[in-house]
């Protein structure tokens, strides 16, 4: 039963996603303002102008685990930030706590440089493995914030409570911190450590807010539609239980 429901949800989401991408619309969808993303867009532009660097921490979500989706969202954001800041004197640097994710971050940065027409500026060392355990990753990524003239620290992906150490490092260096994590414990920690916290599914909204890709915009709309369907199903279930139906 639960597998059929899961398959049904996947099929519905696929149909909605493809329909929203390929249907030609007169105007682009409008989403609510999220202050953290507005600041991030501004910070990406400023980093190019004043020769500082963006640091994107992708977390330690292994691609073979269910937490890998958060890492994919981080890679999509890295791609967009990479395109916007690749011509900077100090190109963006990405750190990961998982080896496969580090390899993908290099490939993503390379694609971003190609897309911006600056492939010759790409350096593989800008996609780095910072550590293989949660705290060694945090220690490795903190040093980058301290030593490489980072003006904006973006934490996006799968983190645990060790995200507080990364947030503290950004605070000490007076870097702008934008942070979103998939784990509820990390979300609580980041709520206490950031000026504009991102909670829940806002992690997956980042690529749609920073870039303008049709697939990302459609994906965000699909999330909204599915969320409403789940809310209606929960209310219907509660109503049925209230009147005594099984």
């Amino acid at each position: 039963m639960s597998q059929s429901l899961g398959l049904g949800l996947v099929i519905l989401a696929t149909i909605l996603l493809l329909a929203l991408i390929f249907i030609k619309r007169k105007s682009q969808p409008v989403f609510r303002e999220i202050a953290a993303f507005t600041r991030l867009r501004r910070a990406a532009g400023l980093a190019v102008e004043d020769g500082t660097r963006l640091h994107v921490s992708l977390g330690r979500g292994g691609l073979l685990s269910p937490r890998g989706a958060a890492s994919f969202s981080g890679l999509a954001l890295l791609r967009q930030l990479g395109e916007q800041t690749s011509i900077s004197d100090r190109p963006p640097v990405a750190t990961s706590g998982d080896a496969a994710l580090a390899v993908l971050s290099q490939d993503t940065l390379r694609a971003a440089y190609q897309s911006a027409g600056a492939e010759e500026l790409f350096q593989p060392a800008n996609g780095r493995l910072a550590g293989m355990t949660p705290f060694s990753y945090a220690a490795g990524a903190m040093i980058i914030t301290r030593q490489e003239q980072i003006s904006t620290d973006v934490l996006i992906g799968d983190f645990g409570p060790e995200a507080a150490l990364l947030a503290e490092a950004a605070e000490r260096e007076h870097a702008l911190l934008i942070a979103a994590a998939s784990d509820p414990a990390a979300q609580a920690v980041l709520f206490a450590s950031t000026s504009e916290p991102l909670v829940g599914e806002e992690l997956f909204a980042a690529p749609a807010y920073i870039g303008n890709d049709a697939a990302h915009l459609a994906s965000l709309q699909v999330q909204d539609i599915l969320r409403w369907l789940i809310i209606l199903a929960l209310l219907a279930g509660a109503g049925l239980k209230l009147v005594g139906l099984p």
């Binding site: 073979l64 080896a99 496969a100 060392a125 409570p161 150490l165 000026s195 599914e201």
Partner: protein, 208 residues
């Protein structure tokens, strides 16, 4: 911009086989799915070696350019290579390797965990200065309340009404409901992100 249709078609096909193998109980499909997942695990192991190579390269360049903090890079490279060689020559179960884990790695990680506790207290204090709104107030009051209600006080023990009535209600009522709401949102985001990767709309492998 270079495109890689072969890489994309292989990724899409394998992704669909694994997804269908999970949902449809067809023996052949399940068998193929398990085999493909095994391959992915082997590739992830190889990626770990590539990642270590990347770590060595980054710190080697830091030392060569005599960047700020390159002494730490020297320590990292020497200890990493020494541990690697010891592990290869003596095996991971050898007493020296256990010594490295129990006497060096675990205490260092525990120290960082302790540092984390201090960092969180400091961040909570600064939170009021950084963002003084009602959500911050609710967050801090709830956190303090849960700490007090979870603690066993000297002479009194657990606080009667707080610990056995209000705390469980808060934990299994509003907190559990809020967490489930967050997780539902994350699950929906994961689903659409996975679909974008599956249909090659996002391609971290070989560009787009």
């Amino acid at each position: 911009m270079k495109r890689h249709p072969l890489a994309a078609s292989i990724a899409i096909s394998i992704g669909l086989i694994v997804l269908l193998g999970y949902f449809l109980p067809i023996p052949l499909l399940v068998l193929v799915r398990l085999e493909l997942v095994q391959w992915a695990i082997i590739l992830a192991g190889v990626a770990a070696l590539v990642g270590i190579g990347n770590l060595i390269q980054v710190h080697f360049f830091k030392i060569r350019r005599r960047e700020n903090g390159s002494a730490y890079s020297v320590i990292l490279l020497v200890t990493m290579l020494a541990t690697l060689l010891t592990g290869i020559m003596l095996g991971p179960a050898h007493v020296w390797m256990r010594f490295a884990v129990e006497i060096i790695i675990l205490p260092v990680e525990a120290s960082l965990m302790a540092l984390l506790a201090v960092t969180l207290v400091y961040a909570s204090i600064r939170l009021l200065r950084r963002r003084a709104d009602w959500m911050t107030f609710v967050f801090l009051v709830t956190a303090l309340f849960m700490l007090v209600a979870s603690a066993s006080l000297p002479l009194i023990g657990e606080i009667p009404v707080l610990s056995d009535w209000i705390r469980p209600w808060l934990m299994f009522g509003p907190a559990a409901g809020g967490t489930r709401g967050l997780l539902l949102g994350v699950a929906l985001g994961a689903l659409t992100t996975g679909l974008r990767a599956l249909f090659a709309m996002d391609r971290p492998y070989g560009g787009k």
